[in-house]
Structures are given as structure tokens and as C-alpha cells.
Symmetry: C2
Subunit: 251 residues, 2 copies
């Protein structure tokens, strides 16, 4: 199983602490890692087919404070597709003049829906195929970029069609919102005023968020497994879709 | 004016030397830089809205030997569009299950052709608009990814339609070939057996390519201005399109 990490915040926020927690788990997830983050409309992807434990790209991400409202990261243990840059999550596509970033944890068995639209996989993973199908169906459902609530409605119709083919824990963002779909294993957490300290579960690292925040800051963190030992993480129900806007769950 | 750098090689080749030569010119080109490189079908983009002189991403690219057959790099001096990640070259889109990477040097005046296909700009530069139009027209001209020679034919029809709106020096690659279009300023060079030394024009750095190559290696370098002082660079004629495959100009 791969590991996912998502962050949605109401102010550009440093994801270094959580990414370090994720990268620590890269020992069993040696088949690459990637992180995509939005700065306004712009999305940047840093991916490497090397493990996040040794990758110089991961080192850059851990030491260089990236501030973003929406982040999607993934460390990979290959189930389908060889270890290559084109098979490394997150994947990105443009639709309606917005960049969409997607990462998947799970395994879709015998799922190759027909792609008749403008989105084709570059690599050979089930995940990128599913992402292309999602983009194709979103493009058919709306003429231009719709409101977040409308997109959530469409996703609530589409995601069960993927989920019934296998495990489909997923993170998706277009820079305005972050959608998270739980299948077998996904957790989430809100950090907001009053902020306190948190310690990573797998690494000797502690951050006092009160020192780095203002009372208005709100951050939602979504991760395969809880990253911290001393915060109240909630588990997604199987098939549950949550959408996060400005650091809180939206309608 | 921005500065372009392209590399096309018949074996995965280190672009560090040439990129260092490009980054040296970043003093007047402080509005970001980017580099896209193919590893097989996979393309990775490293972009930063900071100058290549100070960017930690540029430092990573300069020190970490990236081996690639097709590279497109760009340092930016903004003429249209604010300094932001979504306006930083190179741009990338997927078409026919291939990633396409594009960078432009120049300025297209009052050029906003109608985009009725699947490609829309995320940022607000003339360059990304032109790239979306190119992708749209390629998608209309071919049902799937055609042979390189056919793509070159189509591009020979399309590029003059962009060029007549202003300066259009351009690099484009899909990982199989690299297309370079000269407008006002673009130079190219072949490095092949017998390899010799070359010294960067703007930096005290010399490389003896004979030490790092085999007699079969072939590399084409394309750059706005010649990067080395002691090699025979050729200038593109205005409106000239060249396509490079496996390190040499193709038909």
C-alpha cells in the first residue's frame, strides 16, 4: 500500500512537518514519491522514482519551506506499472484552465474504462487510467469550472463507479478545494485555534504550531495513517467523500 | 528577452554543464526559470518563480546530474503575465498519451486565437495561449500520435501562423523528438565524435566531453545565444524549423 498526504489551508502553510512524517515511512515505500502543491492557480509537482528516504528532490522539499493552500503528496509501493517517472503520483492534467492534481492509494482490479475524451494515460498504472476517466467524466458533466459544491455532487456520482473495482483512497485538488475519498484507510484532522504542539509518530520531531500561526489559521490534514501521536485523527468511512475548502470540511 | 535551452541526445545525457551556462545569464532574467526533462515517456518539470541565480530548485538541478534524452529549459524576463508559477515556462500538456513540453522566447502582440478544444491556459501569458492553440491544432490534425516527420509537416503549417504575430523562438518536445523554431535569435550545435573540450562563455567552467562520452554519443544543443566560446554554433534563419531526433537534425 502506498501512503497519501493531503493538506488544505486558508492561508499558505508550510507542509514540511507533515511531509517529513510521511517520508519517514518510505522504507517500505521505496518505489518513488511525489508532491504537488498549489500557489494560487499555479501547481508545481516534484516527483522522483527514488525513495523519499534518499531522493535529493525529497531533501529539497523537506528543507525548503514551501507555503501552499493545497498540497497532495504520495509515497509509492508499486502494485501496477513499473518504477518510472510516468508512473509516479501525483498526476496532473489541465481542465477548464485549471490544473488538477490527483493521487491514489489502492488497487483497481481489471478496471480499464473506455477513454474517448481528451485525457489519456502517459504511464501504465491503474491510478492514472482512473484519473483520466474522472477528468473525462467531469469534462462531460460541466461546460466550465463549476462551483465547488457542484463538483462535489458530480464526484459523489463518479467515485462509487471507481470504488466498486477495488481499493480507492484518493486525493484530488484544483487549487480551490481538496477532495478526499476514503476506501480502506484514510484519516483526517483539523488544526485550528487554540494551536498546540504535536509530535510525529515515526520521527523524533515536535512542532509547537502556536508559535507559527495566527488565531485565524485553519489547516486540514489528510493522511493514510495518523502522522502524529498526540492529536485526534478521525477515520474516513468506506466510500466517504469529504471536500475541504479554506482549511475546513465544506458542505 | 528570455533565454531558451534545448537538448536532444541519442543516449541519456547530463545537461548540467549547459544549464549552468544558462543560469549564469539569470541576472537580467530574474522572473523565474524552469526546466523540463524526459526520462523515457515520463516528463518532469522543475520550475521556480525565483531567479535561477538564487533558486534552491536551480541549485538542485545544477548539482544533481539529471540524465535525459530531451530537455527544455527557460529563464524568464516577464513581458506578459505577472511573476507566478502558472506563468513560468516550460508549460506541459498531455496529448495522445504523451506529455508535451513547450517554452517560448518572444512576444506575440494582440494574439488571442479562439480556443475551442481541450486546452486552456492556466496562467495569463501569450506563450501558454499559443501553446494551447498549437496543441488544439495538432489534436485536430491527427487522430493519434503520428510519426515525427508527419508532426513536423503539421508544425510547418502551424508555426508561421504564430510567427506573424511577433517574435516566436520556440522549443517543443514530446520525448521522441525536439522541435526548435527560430524567429529572431536561436542557435544550435552538434556534439559528436571526436569529442573535445568546451568552455562556457559566461562562467569559468570547462568540460572535456571526450572524458564523459562514447564514440556513438550524439547531442544537439539549442540555445538563444551560444553558450560556449570555442564551438561552432549555427544561427537559425527567421522562420526556420528544425527537428532533432537521437541527437541529430532529422528530415
Amino acid at each position: 500500500m502506498c501512503q497519501l498526504l493531503g493538506m488544505n489551508a486558508n492561508t499558505p502553510t508550510d507542509v514540511m512537518f507533515s511531509f517529513t512524517g510521511l517520508a519517514t515511512r518510505a522504507d517500505e515505500h521505496k518505489d518513488g514519491f511525489g508532491i504537488g502543491f498549489f500557489e494560487g492557480r499555479g501547481a508545481r509537482l516534484f516527483v522522483d522514482a527514488q525513495s523519499a528516504r534518499v531522493s535529493p528532490v525529497a531533501e529539497l522539499v523537506k528543507t525548503w519551506p514551501i507555503h501552499s493552500n493545497n498540497v497532495i503528496a504520495h509515497i509509492r509501493k508499486a502494485t501496477q506499472g513499473q518504477v518510472a517517472p510516468e508512473n509516479t503520483h501525483p498526476f496532473a492534467r489541465e481542465l477548464w484552465g485549471r490544473t488538477w492534481v490527483f493521487a491514489h492509494n489502492g488497487d483497481l482490479k481489471d478496471f480499464r474504462p473506455r477513454l474517448h475524451g481528451s485525457f489519456r494515460p502517459v504511464g501504465d498504472t491503474d491510478s492514472e487510467h482512473a484519473f483520466c476517466w474522472l477528468m473525462q467524466e467531469l469534462a462531460k458533466a460541466h461546460a466550465g469550472v463549476p462551483a465547488v459544491a457542484e463538483l462535489s455532487c458530480t464526484l459523489r456520482e463518479l467515485l462509487p463507479q471507481l470504488h466498486r473495482h477495488g481499493t480507492f483512497n484518493m486525493l484530488l485538488s484544483n487549487g480551490q478545494a481538496l477532495w478526499a475519498h476514503g476506501s480502506t484507510k484514510l484519516h483526517w484532522l483539523l488544526r485550528q485555534h487554540p494551536f498546540r504542539s504535536a509530535a510525529l509518530r515515526d520521527e523524533d520531531l515536535q512542532v509547537n504550531f502556536a508559535r507559527h500561526t495566527t488565531p485565524e489559521d485553519r489547516v486540514a490534514i489528510i493522511a493514510t495513517e495518523p502522522l502524529t501521536a498526540d492529536e485526534a485523527w478521525a477515520a474516513f468511512a468506506p466510500g466517504e467523500l469529504k471536500v475541504f475548502v479554506d482549511g475546513v470540511p465544506a458542505g
